[in-house]
Symmetry: C2
């Protein structure tokens, strides 16, 4: 059977027991041009929560009754397609389920073997997470040597990569923002940021001013809301704000921005992006990220949750801050790049 987690009702805040249901359906049959994929590991990303809302977005909302949309990796166990061979480890939109069909409507990428990297690392650093950090910083944010860079969600998978790429690109100072003393310690000690501010301590705008007295040249925003507002109060002349995510807003709990006028007086800009637009250029980012990994310049952590049935709880970890590093759900631990 194919265990599937489907959306039962739209959550108003955090995902709870009523949001999803675990159902069992027959394993899909592999037809012509298709490959049957055994799902190994799911990538748990904040954007999944936005797809659960009945609101306009960059993809349509997940329909009620539909399998929860998610990227992930798996192994091809049967193939009637020229694209995939049995035994290939592939990455794509697996959804929260045990089995999925790869075909023309749901295209998967074959992951490289022989790099000496495990599947979790590839899903994190060489996957959407690392690629998002790279293009957000380099392309949208136009990072340049000597920039003072601030990153929110700094202990998270994307944020921790952003700070390290900024360092490698010659940032003068890299300051993280995270929630709680433990995470702030991780940001400095594990990921090598110069400093990390705990937004829960209050007076964030004032503390940012102390940390960045000449202002913030580049801000990579993963959270939105009050934290974004505090950075706007400190934006430097011609500063750039890269809007990657707004996790503080996804659960509907956000407050409004009041400091946008600073964009005028500081001639600053704020720009959003969606990493799917960069798909044709993914290899460019992966080459640079693989180089950083090989040189030991990119520290990364993965937070593994075991069991498909725990995917909803794993998603909630992103919002409660209970995760450490990239959150992945291991559905079948026999799927590997070894």
């Amino acid at each position: 059977m194919n265990r599937q987690i489907v959306l039962r009702e739209r959550p108003s805040g955090a995902v709870d027991a009523a949001t999803t249901a675990l159902v069992e359906t027959p394993v899909p049959t592999c037809g012509s041009g298709q490959a049957l994929v055994r799902v190994g590991t799911l990538s748990i990303d904040p954007t999944i929560r936005t797809w659960m809302n009945d609101a306009p977005g960059y993809l349509p909302p997940i329909a009620i009754g539909e399998v929860v949309r998610s990227s992930g990796a798996g192994v091809v166990v049967e193939s009637q397609s020229d694209r995939y061979r049995v035994g290939d480890v592939v990455f794509g939109m697996t959804g929260w389920q045990d089995w999925v069909l790869a075909d023309a409507n749901n295209h998967f990428t074959v992951l490289p073997r022989g790099l000496g990297l495990d599947l979790a690392t590839v899903l994190n650093v060489l996957g959407v997470t690392g690629i998002t950090a790279f293009f957000g910083l380099v392309d949208v944010g136009r990072i340049k040597e000597g920039d003072v860079v601030v990153v929110s969600g700094a202990a998270g998978a994307t944020g921790s990569a952003v700070g390290q790429i900024a360092r490698a690109r010659g940032a003068a100072k890299v300051v993280g923002i995270a929630g709680g003393a433990q995470k702030c310690a991780e940001v400095v000690e594990i990921y090598g940021f110069d400093q990390c501010l705990d937004y829960r301590d209050g007076h964030l705008a004032r503390r940012l001013h102390e940390a960045c007295p000449a202002g913030v040249d580049l801000y990579f925003d993963n959270v939105g809301g009050e934290v974004l507002d505090a950075v706007l109060a400190n934006i430097a002349m011609r500063g750039r704000v890269v809007l990657c995510g707004a996790i503080s807003q996804y659960n509907g709990a956000g407050t409004g921005l009041v400091n946008t006028s600073m964009l005028i007086s500081r001639r600053a800009s704020m720009e959003g992006f969606i990493i799917l637009d960069y798909a044709p250029r993914f290899a460019e980012a992966q080459a640079e990220l693989a180089g950083m990994l090989a040189r030991g310049e990119l520290v990364h952590r993965e937070h593994l949750v075991t069991g498909l049935e725990n995917a909803p709880d794993a998603l909630n970890l992103l919002f409660s801050g209970g995760n450490h590093g990239k959150t992945l759900v291991v559905v079948d631990d026999s799927v590997s790049l070894d």
Copy 2:
């Protein structure tokens, strides 16, 4: 004597009787390298109100006891400078007063005669107002043929010029936002916008969606706050928001933005600018604006208030919406370009 309006105390909302004081001082003496200017007409701009706040901005706040900072035009009545001849009509930072010295610290530009334009027109269309509309739309907003353009403060001096320049540059649709039925009628009938929405009628986001069903490609924002938020809800893919002013916020009455996440899902950007940065390129804008004037493509109105002593009330008109067109204070009506 030189009548001067000085800042007595910082206003918390609108300027009132306690904010300024009219004082009389001796007419300044013209020294070497200086010219004595008789002030003719003052340009009344929303930004003056921001200079009255004790807050960081693109220029220092006006000090208590200092003459209120303002641009304006006047005539040179005495000169010990190579730059100015007696009889030149000059533009610069006159302040709210009868007399001012032009010198190395306070540089004035000699205005062109013989264009057949009166001083009020020059102060409006060829002055900071028209130049702001031009560079905001063309340079910051990167307007292109076929854009759906929305402008707030559309009945105002800057907004009305923005809509007409957008039309001349090939916009597919030009929609204004203004306060009240009379202003909305002016925007369509006098300035030739396709449509104008009264923000006071409520449900602005929904009505914008009806007016621009495929979204807003370029939004020129003069007001900030709720109106900006309603446009963000309707921003098109890769839309551009040009932040020129935030008049709804200057008096401290603003509400926060909640729709900035739309910048992410629509890959859109928001950028502020200050027209002073474009000073080296003013002639470029003036040439194009003078051409539009000559071809009758640029309808403009000036709202003249007579008497230096009425400058504070004239400033309040910008916030109450009581003005129609570019607000100017005539200090001495004998100063002209004839």
